[in-house]
């Protein structure tokens, strides 16, 4: 369970860090949302494209982190099952006297 908790904490930290990086990368566009001077066509299309990229990256990151956490839990589950199988085999090999 300690391994599972460590994986959960690590996944949570990794997710927070990734979201911060995305916010940092797109902060200029996010700030420009409230800027009235962004009506020039060129700047507006740049802004829209960047905001779409921002939203996709947020979604991609959430999905990747969830899949990664799920993968780590699957590995831990597999280890647990293998350890239990070994334990049962050892018990059979040396019955209590």
């Amino acid at each position: 369970m300690l391994q599972a908790l460590t994986a959960a904490a690590s996944s949570s930290l990794s997710y927070s860090y990734s979201i911060q990086s995305i916010l940092y990368k797109h902060q200029a566009s996010l700030l420009a949302l409230n800027d009235a001077s962004t009506d020039a066509r060129h700047r507006r299309s740049l802004l829209i494209d960047d905001l779409r990229s921002f939203l996709r990256e947020i979604g991609d990151t959430a999905s990747r982190e969830a899949r990664s956490f799920q993968h780590q839990l699957a590995l831990i589950t597999e280890q647990l099952a293998q350890a239990e199988a070994r334990h049962q085999e050892e018990s059979k090999a040396s019955p209590p006297s």
Partner: protein
């Protein structure tokens, strides 16, 4: 087969098997179809899709040889890939591909269309009872069909990089996604495959623009047809270039002006592709047992832009 990346990725033997099986299959086909199939398959593929299948498998099961059933999947993906090439060439009215006459140019459109259908039918037959592979190839056929219609419908439209990404992900991306899933039946490297396909598509776009400097390179058809490539998506953010791009009847000067504008976007396009590389490496790092074969595949794909 003398392609250096096949050796770099350490799959010479497996690619030879794919080549041999395709050659044997061609000779076993109906004699009416053999000349067309010989012509189509003699031109020499880059075998990037089989290499994606093999690299994915090796990243999950390091040290084991590539099994026969996976070689068969690689043969089938080449058949499906060639079907898309034939259709693309008809659609683009391309007289040549890799320095040789295209299938429709040499044998006519009817023969080319029938040969493309024949390849797909044979591909499904080869899969036999591999139900999961049949399901994956069916998904691929549907997505490729939708992507081709979407790309054609959206030509000459002033759209953004995110639109390019969506089209590329469904077009080339879906093919590489399926390659990854054929080798990794759990699907955990599906996103990796999609990103690799996106990278391949983007590098191809950039490489084509490098070749169109004097309107003689491989991207001339895309330019003429107003296809949304990565450099185009970056360049048309400038309203003047956007107006030229959306013109239904561009003059030769217009096309040269567009080619120059796309050329100017190459550094930004390369930066964008580097970001896709990072995303693909991250997927490999998180989901492969040994990501090294996938890192090598990404590196070889990245070289295709010629930058």
């Amino acid at each position: 087969m003398t392609l250096s990346f096949v050796d770099n990725l350490n799959f010479r033997h497996e690619v030879s098997l794919v080549e041999t099986q395709i050659a044997e299959w061609v000779e076993s086909c109906d004699k009416e179809m053999i000349p067309e199939l010989r012509w189509q398959f003699i031109s020499g593929s880059k075998y990037f899709r089989p290499l994606t299948i093999f690299s994915t498998y090796r990243s999950l099961v390091p040290g084991l040889p590539i099994p026969d059933w996976l070689i068969r999947c690689a043969v089938v993906i080449e058949l499906f890939h060639n079907m898309t090439l034939v259709i693309d060439d008809i659609l683009d009215k391309s007289p040549e591909r890799r320095g040789r006459a295209t299938l429709h140019h040499k044998f006519g459109e009817l023969d080319a269309l029938m040969a493309s259908g024949y390849m797909v039918a044979e591909g499904y037959r080869m899969l036999g009872t591999d139900a999961q592979a049949i399901e994956l190839f069916s998904e691929l056929m549907k997505r490729l069909g939708v992507a081709e219609c979407l790309q054609w419908r959206l030509r000459r439209r002033v759209l953004g990089v995110e639109d390019w990404r969506h089209i590329a992900a469904e077009d080339t991306g879906s093919m590489f996604e399926i390659c990854a899933c054929l080798a990794d039946r759990t699907g955990r490297l599906r996103t990796f495959g999609g990103l690799l396909g996106l990278l391949y598509h983007g590098c191809d776009d950039v490489g084509d623009v490098r070749g169109t400097a004097a309107l003689g390179g491989g991207g001339v058809e895309d330019l003429r047809d107003g296809i949304l490539t990565l450099p185009a998506a970056l360049a048309i953010r400038d309203p003047e270039i956007g107006n030229l791009f959306s013109n239904d009847h561009p003059t030769r000067e217009d096309l040269q002006h567009l080619a120059d504008a796309f050329q100017k976007q190459l550094p930004e396009a390369e930066t964008y592709l580097d970001q896709v590389v990072s995303q693909a490496r991250k997927e490999a790092e998180l989901f492969a047992n040994d990501p090294e074969p996938l890192y090598a595949l990404i590196a070889e794909t990245r070289k295709l832009s010629g930058g």
